[in-house]
Symmetry: D2
Subunit: 147 residues, 4 copies
């Protein structure tokens, strides 16, 4: 199965639907069922000690698998996060971007499942792992979850 949106089209779409976070996230690489994204860490993402906050890590994990789902199903579709399980394993390093490598494990008619590993840029030790499920409602319907 090929990409419905390439990297440029995906960036344009994310900027359009999430103007609030424009510029926060970058897409390093995109291939069918695989993506690498980046949180461009800023003051607002930090906790005392310079470590990236839990909500910022959650946000990166969520947008990573969301973007991957959209890259496969295209911009007409909706995708709504229904579940996330996240393990925080190490402290992110201060002053580094956070890099997420995501893969899609299932792309069904109504549900998609992916998982993601988060690393501090330049390190190979994962700081967190997450798995996420998205509901893909028919394009014209109202969604009942939350993104």
């Amino acid at each position: 199965m090929g990409l419905a949106l390439d990297r440029e089209a995906l960036i344009a779409y994310l900027d359009e639907v999430f103007p609030q976070v424009r510029g926060e996230f970058g897409i390093d690489a995109l291939a069918p069922m695989e993506i690498t994204m980046r949180l461009k860490v800023r003051e607002a993402h930090l906790r005392p000690g310079g470590t990236v906050s839990g909500p910022s890590m959650f946000a990166l994990a969520d947008v990573t698998v969301y973007a991957l789902v959209l890259s496969m199903v295209g911009r007409e579709a909706l995708a709504v996060t229904t579940n996330c399980s996240i393990d925080f394993m190490r402290k992110p390093e201060a002053g580094r971007d956070l890099v997420a490598t995501g893969r899609l494990l299932k792309l069904g008619r109504v549900l998609a499942v992916g998982d993601v590993l988060l690393h501090s840029d330049g390190s190979d030790k994962p700081v967190a792992r997450a798995s996420l499920t998205y509901s893909i409602p028919p394009a014209a319907s109202q969604s009942s979850g939350a993104g």
Copy 2:
């Protein structure tokens, strides 16, 4: 087991350790092993359509159980989020605060487990549920997870 920190002491402590989010969260009620908190919803928490974002819901769930753990173990202790599983079930209502009711299910020597329901203020339908685990490292040690 009684409270190690009452509501006022807990608010003061959260303001001290999380100055970045000062004023975002309120504590409506606190009792041993139970808490009600509130996200004072602002523009920065919203997604298109006026609904509260997933990362903002995660942040509320996380701070709710974190504050509850601290209220029981006191301000000398550390508590580091190690796992969160969250289900997004309905769209939050636009223009409403988000209210979280949390309870502590286990408060062990090294791990604490709690769960939380999120509602839009004035509604009794849960928009999300979450369960969270915190590691409670010895006070003097460095933590290895992420909060």
Copy 3:
């Protein structure tokens, strides 16, 4: 919303669709969106030391919310477990049945979400908590998950 299946009809249906576990689980109480079930603990459920095994606790949590979903949607419907997050918090007591109290938090058109607390019979300390999501495919379709 009322019950589509009462306690007797639900027991009969579970015996019919899960003949492998007939007699292992009991239904103590059933009301709309709420259920209490019981694992009748036998040798096969135990680990050394007499404690109930993790897979047996998972099985009880899964059947509890599954039965609750079926009690609401009726026997024509399918329900397929898509996600379970479970926290093991204490050792179950040896020689006691395990009791599960479940509630349904969402009963949507395509997804249902419930959570459950497990106790040793006669104790009020939870040994585990779990949250589960079920996909409810249209009755005539083939399911793509696993129950």
Copy 4:
């Protein structure tokens, strides 16, 4: 970090501590931080239609990461499952063993985190994914969770 137990020593240890499931699980491959295990599917693991049951998939995921933790920390140590999040994505194929590939993402002083993919033998489509956390209590202490 090398193996504390090689494949033969690990098999012997699992047979010793889990005599109830002797012969149910096989270890196909073991390397530092990586393992491949197998559920030798029998009648008792099946649901109507010949598909492997959810509790059997949970059991395989749990024993896979548990065995991997023990292979790294040795037989003197304890490891107690504290959390499992599992996604069921496809129906296992009837009449096939279930194969699990696990990796350890964190091996800390008190917590270990791993994840695992389950496939039907001979297929490359994952039927389930799971992430698990283990508490590693000091060898002489009593554990407070459940395995």
